[in-house]
Amino acid sequence: MWKWLYKLGSPKWFYTMTGQYMPWLVGLTVILLGVGLVWGLAFTPPDYQMGENYRIAYIHVPSASIAMGCYYMMACMAAAFLIWRIKMADMVAKACAPVGMTFTAAALFTGSVWGIPTWGTWWIWDARLTSTLIMLFLFIGVMALRSAYDSAQSGAKASAVLTLVGVVNVPIIKYSVEWWNTLHQGASNLSLSNTAANPPEVWVPAFFVGFGLLGFFLIAIILRTRNEILIRERRTDWVSDILGDARGEN
């Protein structure tokens, strides 16, 4: 276990390993997203009140979950970088910010689109919406802070600290609907019975889309991290070997 973690901390090993598994990950993601989206958007029965427009939840809920998971991941990487000075952790944290920002923006956008016909408004300053907007600003702030420093090392440290300060916001998003009165609904109790609310035919497609988007998220993180590895390790022999052809022409 520790040996495996130690290996994961090696840019070369990460680059080679992710290169090997990438086609499998892409294939699995395409299958999961394909099945989930077609099932959820075309074959699940319409909701008894919202008709067809509830289907946006098949994108909205997984996007929001992944955005929150992404923040936790970025925070773990920030802690690992600050404590153990693991360079790989910083590279993954750097990759997390723009991807997490995009998923947060997607969750906010799909929520607004659903809110207009359902609630009668696209925005309200309730605890769930506001804390999610704060997460969007945190992702943007982490990116801005990193690039504000001339030294990459200082930028990495500063953005890691900001990431850790902001991590308390994620449980607030999660529990906002329980702690306060909000317009946003609470978490659904998923039921295995077909007669109760939230039966499997409603939520199983959401799981397919969710794992498909998780695959897409991992692909995005891995590709960004691989690019970062090539940039930072460009003077090493093994990167020269990989880029040998491209460089030989210069």
Partner: protein
């Protein structure tokens, strides 16, 4: 080396725990302000700031909705949390999901007659998603009142 790492671990935990405590205290202090609406019971108990607009949230009481006999697009209904009912009057377009037995959030003020004059009506959706076919089963179980 090991002590340095331990020191950094302490600093990182301090950052996380410290900011969590700070934010927790702020939220605790803001507690009432963060709620996006007051329940009818809170309104009845006078917990609402007088002389300014606020939001009430509850269910549209079944059988209380009147619209046809009123002028134009005016509607009247009772907002309830199963303990206290508050009469609400509103003129305008209602959101799709607005209906009896459903959650509602209204923005406005209470007039001299104790009627809540709403300037905006929002429908609150609950956390239940159901295929139209299986709704009959839910209605049989009578699961509607949720304060």
């Amino acid at each position: 080396m090991a002590t340095q790492r331990k020191q950094r671990m302490t600093i990182v935990s301090f950052i996380v725990v410290g900011s969590a405590i700070a934010v927790g205290l702020v939220l605790f202090a803001l507690n009432e302000g963060i709620n996006v609406f007051y329940t009818p019971s809170e309104v009845a108990q006078g917990e609402v700031p007088s002389g300014q607009n606020f939001r009430i949230g509850g269910m549209v009481k079944s059988g209380s909705l009147r619209s046809g006999e009123l002028q134009g697009t005016e509607v009247q209904f009772m907002a309830t949390d199963c303990l206290v009912d508050i009469p609400v009057s509103y003129t305008g377009v209602l959101p799709d999901l607005f209906r009896e037995g459903q959650g509602v959030v209204a923005d406005g003020y209470i007039d001299g007659n104790g009627v809540f004059q709403a300037s905006q009506i929002l429908a609150k959706h609950d956390e239940n998603y159901m295929p139209a076919e299986s709704v009959a089963a839910m209605e049989a179980s009578g699961a509607t009142c949720d304060p």
